[in-house]
């Protein structure tokens, strides 16, 4: 398998988690566990659908500031290899139906490591992903804050560039 990393659009991260692969896999693949960590507190996550098979739907809702649950993520699993790999995208919905908005494909891999499990994520974004980020902003965890920070950054940027 050759999967290349495009540094302009992709991000990769890897972490050694001190627990057996089975435990990490269960935390990901059990909706009740997944809800415990997918979004940062105090936001709450609810898994509506997590059909772990190629073509299976993946739908979550989020509640922010104690409000009602709202759509968060809708996607489709592309590959699910027990204890090894989960690939999902929001370019498709369940049963391979093309999605209105598309943003990314994520490849999650689990490997044995002397200290537990090596957990890796390779997240590929499409170009112009920024546009979609703005469109779906309200549905993504923590992005309200992220956008504020971005705005702050731009304001600083502009202030700096207006100085002769």
């Amino acid at each position: 398998m050759t999967r290349s990393v495009n540094p302009e659009l992709d991000l990769t991260l890897s972490r050694i988690i001190k627990a057996p692969r089975r435990v990490v896999w269960d935390a990901w693949s059990t909706p009740a566990s997944f809800e415990q960590w997918w979004v940062p507190a105090p936001a709450k996550c609810k898994v509506l659908e997590m059909d772990l098979r190629p073509g299976g739907g993946f739908t979550t809702h989020i509640s922010e500031n104690g409000g009602a649950f709202k759509p968060h993520m809708r996607g489709c699993f592309l590959a699910v290899d027990e204890l090894e790999r989960i690939v999902f995208t929001d370019a498709l919905l369940g049963e391979w139906r093309p999605a209105e908005r598309t943003f990314m494909t994520a490849v999650i891999t689990l490997q044995d490591h002397p200290n537990g499990t090596e957990y890796s994520a390779h997240v590929m974004h499409k170009s112009r992903a920024d546009r979609d980020m703005h469109e779906t902003m309200g549905f993504h965890d923590g992005w309200g804050t992220v956008v504020e920070q971005l705005a702050g950054l731009v304001e600083r940027d502009r202030a700096a560039s207006s100085v002769p």
Binding site: E8, L9, L11, L13, R15, I17, K18, A19, P20, V23, V24, A27, W28, S33, Q36, W37, W38, P40, Y119, A121, V123, H125, S127, R128, A129, D130, R131, M133, H134, H140, D141, G142, W143, V146, V147, Q149, L150, A151, L153, V154, D157, S161
Partner: protein, 114 residues
């Protein structure tokens, strides 16, 4: 936020083309004239100039004319903006991984002590 979104869209469009990426790669090593930049490409000058104008319009490079020679150089600030977008995505995934790790190690420790 609007202007920021437009700016990022321009940056990603500019980076989507191999000729423009090559030009940026060359300019990463230092400023260069248009003719020097065009040399490696089998392309008519007007077509090449379109790429240069695209890069300039997206704010990734700036050009300056001295006499008959137009010199291009990289605009570092725009790269910082593209980097910031990816950084927010990274922060999101790092956060998720932190929480997964925390969740897994605490539940695992609890299960083991049962």
């Amino acid at each position: 936020m609007e202007h920021y979104s437009d700016r990022l869209t321009g940056i990603f469009q500019a980076l989507a083309d191999p000729t423009r990426r090559a030009v940026l790669g060359r300019l990463g090593k230092g400023p260069a004239s248009i003719s020097e930049l065009a040399r490696p490409f089998d392309m008519a000058l007007p077509s090449f100039m379109k790429h240069i104008r695209f890069l300039e319009g997206s704010g990734l490079i700036r050009t300056r004319k001295t006499g008959r020679v137009r010199t291009c150089s990289i605009e570092r600030k725009s790269f910082a903006a593209a980097e910031a977008w990816l950084s927010t995505q990274r922060a999101l995934w790092e956060g998720r991984t932190d929480r997964l790790e925390q969740f897994v190690t605490t539940t695992h420790a609890r299960d083991k002590s049962k």
